[in-house]
């Protein structure tokens, strides 16, 4: 079968290659080109948002105000959050989806290639607009990435309107991207590729895409209400006119909680591809993985108020949201169990993607457990808005989402470029990142439990030592990301040629294609048995 595919692919490669110059990237409808652009965009945003984190950590190196004004500090916390969530993590996963889903399901391209181009090209405009607010009078958004009203309406800087339209554009981009992914997965699968034969990465993305089209419109609604409150005299969130600020938090977190699963479910998918390969065993409990992912997605819609335990909810609601939140630990536990069981008695080898995946399992579990602590309503009153929360979500997002993305990049980079990356350098990148992030974020648990509030530029003296350690770790983590940049550029330019299979144990349609993957692949659908 693969011989036939190779022949067709090679043919296409010679006759309809990419256009030359910038027109290739501007007008492309090729899923591989668009995937590449998404990934580069996300990496640029990752460095940009990361440099903001460096500013924050530099200010927090010592108590007192040294480097920046509190107003600017607030803008940095806000922009760091927004850029990392919407600019780095989400586009990176969409990039992986663009590259891999058509190759994994045996489709020639995404279902809606022109819309695909549009979804990507909205992002640079959205983020230029968002970033431009930093240079406007009154500064950029300074109300936290959760932009609670009335802080983001009545008391917001004038640039908030640009922020709102930037969020609209990002939302439109994500929604179009998701519809495209859903249509590709549901309609373009190769003959014989039934739903329950799909690779887990495809499954997790299908579920994520449904989450996206369900909640991004709610976010769009929330920012539209803000826009109307600010400019058109409505009072959705203004108590003076009969509105309710707490309503904003409900609407926001109705979007926000599914959003955090949007950022992690594709990561689950990536890790579920990598662990079996380097354990040389099929994934343990494939079916339970699919159902666990679906359960997490469903539960994500009924737990939002656990972000708001301290707004003054009645006991019954606190109990409901507490128990529902704890319930999420069950399907997540199933997943962790399955990954560990896949490795159990496998013939493990520790290539860089596997290192990142194992770190993912260990550290994501730590983040999950601190999440369970936060889920307990009575103790959340102590932890709420402290560095414990910061430690928790950085533990699930960096070694969770970001490590999964990096694992995926190292795993598929040889397939994309046709070259093996610099292995010793990639190990250095892994270990520096691993050590850096733990040094940066583990102490935050302690200062958080001791009561250090989040989103402040200054702090009480007893937190000084741990904050100094955090800053050192953060800079170690930040600087080591340039190693990844070097590795990727080196790998694109050259390196040891790899076979189509790349990794011995890898299974899936993408490994039947030659490396580098031809510009057009699966123009004739492969047979899947």
């Amino acid at each position: 079968m693969s011989a036939v595919v190779d022949h067709h692919a090679a043919d296409d490669h010679h006759h309809h290659g990419p256009q030359s110059g910038f027109r290739r990237w501007l007008f492309t409808t090729n899923h591989k080109d668009i995937g590449t652009m998404y990934l580069w965009f996300s990496f640029i945003m990752f460095l940009y948002g990361g440099s903001m984190a460096m500013i924050l950590r530099a200010e927090l190196f010592q108590p007192g105000l040294q480097l920046i004004e509190p107003e600017f500090f607030n803008q940095m916390t806000t922009m760091h959050g927004l850029i990392m969530v919407f600019g780095a993590v989400m586009p990176a996963f969409v990039g992986l989806a663009n590259w891999l889903i058509p190759m994994m399901v045996g489709a020639p391209d995404m279902a809606l290639p022109r819309m695909n181009n549009w979804s990507f090209w909205l992002l640079p405009f959205a983020f230029s607009m968002l970033i431009s607010t930093m240079f406007m009078e009154g500064g950029g958004p300074n109300f936290g990435w959760t932009f609670y009203a009335p802080l983001s309406t009545t008391y917001a800087p004038p640039s908030v309107t640009f922020f709102i339209f930037a969020v609209h554009l990002m939302g439109i981009s994500s929604i179009m991207g998701s519809i495209n992914i859903i249509a590709t997965i549901l309609n373009l699968r190769a003959p014989g590729m039934t739903l329950m034969k799909m690779p887990l990465f495809v499954w997790t993305w299908l579920i994520t895409a449904y989450l996206l089209i369900a909640v991004m419109p709610v976010l769009a609604g929330a920012v539209t209400m803000m826009l109307m409150d600010i400019h058109f005299g409505t009072s959705f969130f203004n108590a003076a006119g009969g509105g309710d600020p707490v309503l904003f938090q409900h609407v926001f977190w109705f979007f926000g909680h599914p959003e955090v699963y949007i950022m992690i479910l594709p990561g689950f998918g990536v890790v579920s591809q990598i662990i079996p390969t380097f354990s040389r065993k099929p994934l343990f409990g494939y079916t339970s993985m699919v159902y666990a992912t679906a359960s997490i997605a469903f539960l994500s819609f009924i737990v939002w108020a656990h972000h708001m335990f301290t707004v003054g909810m009645p006991l019954a609601a606190e109990l409901f949201f507490m128990y529902a939140t704890m319930l999420i630990a069950v399907p997540t536990g199933v997943k962790v169990f399955n990954w560990v069981t896949t490795m159990w008695r496998g013939s493990l080898s520790f290539e860089t993607p596997m290192l990142f995946s194992i770190a993912f399992i260990v550290l994501f579990t730590i983040g999950g457990l601190s999440g369970l602590m936060l889920a307990i309503a009575p103790s959340d009153f102590q932890y709420h808005d402290t560095y414990f929360v910061v430690a928790h979500f950085h533990y699930v997002l960096i070694p969770g989402a970001i490590f999964a993305i990096m694992a995926g990049v190292y795993y598929w980079l040889p397939k994309w470029t046709g070259h093996m990356y610099n292995v010793p350098l990639s190990r250095l990148h892994f270990w520096l990142s691993f050590i850096g992030l733990n040094v940066a974020f583990f102490p935050m648990h302690f200062v958080g439990l001791a009561g250090m509030p989040r989103r402040i530029p200054d702090y009480a003296l007893q937190f000084a030592d741990f904050n100094m350690i955090s800053t050192v770790g953060a800079f170690l983590f930040g600087v080591s990301q340039f190693i990844l940049l070097v590795i990727v550029i080196q790998c694109i330019k050259g390196g040891r040629k790899v076979s189509a299979q790349v990794w011995d144990g890898a299974e899936g349609l993408e490994w039947t294609l030659p490396s580098p993957a031809p510009y057009h692949s699966f123009t004739t659908p492969p047979e899947v048995r």
Binding site: A111, L112, I175, S178, I179, I182, A183, L186, N187, Y210, I213, A214, V215, M216, P217, V218, L219, A220, G221, A222, M225, G233, F236, A239, A240, G241, G242, D244, V246, L247, H250, V251, F254, G312, M313, P314, A317
Partner: protein
């Protein structure tokens, strides 16, 4: 020949996805009235009814117990008025109709209109606090420098659970000038 049904299927998938997107966009807005209705039915938001209570019946006073009602007043940042309760606390029997006042003074150099927004804590007790007469039912115009006693007549429902001993009724006074432009006549009438 095989292409036609595939295209139709694709179109159907896209139609359904777009429908979900539109549906969820409107659902986001529908959350606003749903939230109000939900809070009103369950009474969990500490919001009291915005309407006059008509169900007062004589002789249903529960003399066997008392409830402490505390009064709190605050003004919104944009409201340059002095605003405080006339009495900070009353001890009442459930079922008893009582009167108290809030005191307001317009410290600004211009005529203004205020709107008080109530909130009750604990939130679940809000539906047992009935207002027979309240200044919060209307906007309150005050001429520059003027002072007013704002009346409040209330009753605590005899049905109030035994374990609630203390209620706090808080009013926040908001600047309602913009909303009051429509009925400026109110102020004119008051001056005459």
């Amino acid at each position: 020949m095989e292409e036609q049904p595939k295209q139709a299927e694709l179109a159907r998938t896209i139609r359904r996805s777009v429908l979900i997107v539109c549906g969820m966009f409107f659902f986001g807005f529908a959350l606003v009235p749903l939230y109000d209705v939900f809070c009103e039915v369950t009474g969990i938001n500490g919001k009291t009814s915005g309407e006059r209570y008509e169900g007062v019946t004589a002789g249903k006073v529960d003399e066997s117990r008392t409830v402490r009602l505390q009064f709190v007043a605050s003004t919104n940042a944009e409201m340059p008025w002095e605003f405080r309760p006339g009495e900070f606390e009353l001890v009442v029997h459930p079922g008893e109709v009582r009167d108290t006042v809030y005191l307001a003074r317009n410290l600004a150099e211009r005529d203004m209109v205020g709107q008080a927004v109530p909130s009750v804590s604990p939130g679940l007790a809000a539906k047992y606090l009935h207002k027979v007469e309240c200044f919060c039912f209307q906007q309150q115009p005050l001429a520059a420098g003027a002072e007013a006693e704002l009346p409040l007549r209330f009753m605590i429902d005899p049905e109030i659970p035994e374990d609630i001993h203390t209620l706090t009724l808080s009013y926040t006074l908001f600047n309602a000038d913009r909303a009051a432009v429509r009925n400026k006549t109110v102020l004119a009438q008051q001056r005459n």
